[in-house]
């Protein structure tokens, strides 16, 4: 019983980070109807950011967070102007392909530079013991930092003028433009934020698990599952869905082989897409109104 509890709690800790990663995808989707297929590459960029800064430059692992955040933001804004701006408002095929092609370039460059070797960032943090089980300190720290970042994002979107502009553009781009909001710049800002969230998630994942240049794909797919569960375009939903997915993983690992969890997750993903495209929030709302 205690084993199951421990597994569930650890699942939730990791789920929080899945949620953080997915908030990036969902924010971009909500604001500009673009599915950011560079997401995985940006997660990997965050991983290598902390690896290089902590390994080569000797910065303490968690102190790299602000650097990764700002770096991710700048990269995101640049990407917006290079690859995304021209395809805003075009059929989804175009934005999917534009971001996908950037992903190819980044993955190609990454593989050329680092090959496909396994890397890890050694972080020593005391864990928290519960009977026979110990929760790694890195998992606790990652979940705590996720909470802080999610709160900061919430405050930004709901309590600042700029955040309100982002939400206005998300609601109706043309109307926002008519009342004098510089929509293109707001879109660039939102894209930058989304990428910054992805790279910070990558940085936190790197402190917990080993990674390769190609790890991004797996986390990107996981982010899709989470994003769809949480409802595309809904950051709070993404965090909840991330926790739900972590819970699911925690609940199933003691009982079935880990390789089957992927099958469950993707079947769930397709079923949710088909039956409740709004994800968990719609389901909850429906329940409440019924």
């Amino acid at each position: 019983m205690l084993g199951l509890l421990a597994s569930v709690l650890d699942g939730l800790l990791i789920g929080a980070v899945y949620g953080l990663a997915s908030m990036g995808i969902t924010l971009i989707w909500g604001v500009m109807d673009v599915v950011n297929l560079t997401h995985g590459a940006m997660i990997v960029a965050g991983m290598f950011g902390v690896y290089l800064l902590a390994g080569a430059a000797g910065v303490p692992a968690y102190a790299t967070l602000p650097i990764v955040l700002v770096g991710g933001f700048l990269v995101g804004v640049a990407l917006y102007w290079i690859a995304v701006h021209r395809v805003i408002g075009q059929p989804p095929l175009m934005s999917l392909l534009a971001t996908f092609s950037v992903n190819l370039v980044l993955v190609g460059l990454g593989t050329a530079a680092w090959g496909t070797d396994l890397f890890n960032v050694p972080v020593s943090l005391p864990g928290f013991s519960l009977g026979r089980y110990t929760f790694p300190g890195t998992h606790l720290m990652a979940a705590a930092l996720t909470g802080v970042i999610a709160l900061a994002l919430y405050l930004f979107l709901y309590r600042t003028r700029l955040g309100k502009a982002v939400r206005a553009v998300s609601g109706n781009r043309e109307a926002a433009g008519l009342v004098g909001i510089p929509t293109s710049r707001v879109l660039a800002l939102a894209f930058g934020l989304g990428v910054a969230l992805a790279s910070v998630a990558g940085m936190l994942i790197a402190t917990m698990f080993p990674f390769t240049v190609l790890s991004g794909e797996a986390y990107q797919l996981k982010s899709f599952v989470v994003t769809v569960l949480g409802g595309l375009g809904n950051p709070t939903g993404a965090l909840l869905a991330g926790l739900a997915l972590g819970l699911l993983e925690g609940l199933t690992t003691p009982f079935i082989p880990v390789s089957w969890t992927l099958v469950i997750e993707f079947v769930l993903f397709v079923l949710v897409l088909i039956s409740v495209p709004g994800g968990l929030p719609t389901l909850l709302r429906r329940r409440r109104s019924a």
Partner: protein
């Protein structure tokens, strides 16, 4: 036979003949292998073009058909000792039927939602196959070299496989051409431009979409069977490689989605370029980078692809190159 009077029919025929005889000159094995890959790319690209270019639905997971086709036929040959042709056809029928079932589900989605679900289908199938005992789980299936005997030994078998793939490429081009000229194809193009308007005008959109999804699975499934018969083994990451899936989209876009000749042209050029990049010392690591830059340039500046450019340069080309 009015179709025999169309120049494009004969252009396709000429391409097939060139593919069939070029490597025979001087028994050029290197050329054969390069053209074999080109034929596979052309088959995949022409088939994805029917759903991507005609109906406007982005299928990121089209490789699932190729992989499943490979798995079905390799499994039938190794576990049930079926002959190659029977295994290929049975595999393709099974995959098409499966595609129809998947299609009826996920084709209710549109745009980005559909695109994401195709990735989900591919990953779900791959994760399932990696756990599926009868298909060897994550180790896959290995074929015994004995299976090459009925085709006259390994050397002869490679030629047979090559000719079959070239035939498949020809079949894909003719299929893609026939669909485009048919009422069905017109319906698909209407769906691609505006699905709601098409439905209002009486195009049975759900049925057409499911049919084209299933149809675009058939020939790639056979190609998968042949491809993995040639390599004599099949494993989940090779069979359901999302990169190959997206490369297929790249080549269709490069040539010009929605045209018949475009995807073939794009596939051929891409394969030649890839072969050149892989052998070049400097660029062998940058294959993906080149593909990415190429795709981004097309998407941002020439959404019509090569065919779009050619049509703009020589508008008369439209009358015989479709």
């Amino acid at each position: 036979m009015s179709i025999l009077r169309r120049p494009f029919f004969w252009i396709i025929a000429a391409v097939i003949v060139v593919f069939a005889f070029a490597p025979r000159v001087g028994n050029n094995i290197e050329l054969r292998e390069s053209l074999l890959l080109a034929a596979v790319y052309i088959t995949l690209a022409s088939n994805i073009n029917m759903i991507l270019g005609y109906a406007g639905y982005v299928n990121f997971g089209s490789i699932v058909f190729f992989g499943l086709g490979g798995y079905f036929s390799v499994w039938l040959m190794s576990a049930h000792a079926w002959a190659l042709p029977a295994a290929l056809v049975a595999g393709a029928i099974a995959v098409s039927a499966l595609a129809l079932v998947f299609g009826l589900g996920i084709l209710r989605l549109r745009g980005v939602y559909f695109a994401l679900s195709t990735i989900g289908v591919n990953e779900a199938v791959m994760a399932f196959v990696a756990n599926f005992g009868p298909w060897g789980g994550s180790t896959g299936i290995y074929l015994s070299p004995e299976l090459f005997k009925p085709l006259g030994g390994p050397a002869q078998a490679l030629w047979v496989i090559y000719y079959l793939l070239v035939a498949l490429m020809g079949a894909s081009l003719y299929l893609s051409y026939a669909v485009k000229r048919s009422k069905f194809g017109l319906g698909l193009l209407a769906i691609g431009q505006n699905e709601d308007a098409a439905t209002m005008l009486g195009v049975p959109a759900p049925r057409y979409k499911a049919i084209v999804y299933s149809l675009s699975a058939f020939l790639p499934a056979i190609a998968g069977g042949l491809y993995f018969f040639k390599s004599a083994y099949i494993q989940p990451p090779d069979a359901f490689d999302l990169n190959l899936s997206t490369e297929t989209i790249v080549v269709a876009m490069l040539g010009g989605q929605g045209t018949v000749a475009g995807p073939a042209l794009g596939a051929f050029l891409y394969e030649e370029l890839r072969g050149w990049l892989l052998t070049s010392e400097t660029f062998s690591h940058f294959q993906l980078v080149v593909a990415g830059v190429l795709l981004l340039t097309i998407v941002l500046f020439a959404p019509g692809g090569l065919m779009g450019l050619l049509y703009r340069l020589w508008p008369r080309l439209r009358s015989f190159l479709e």
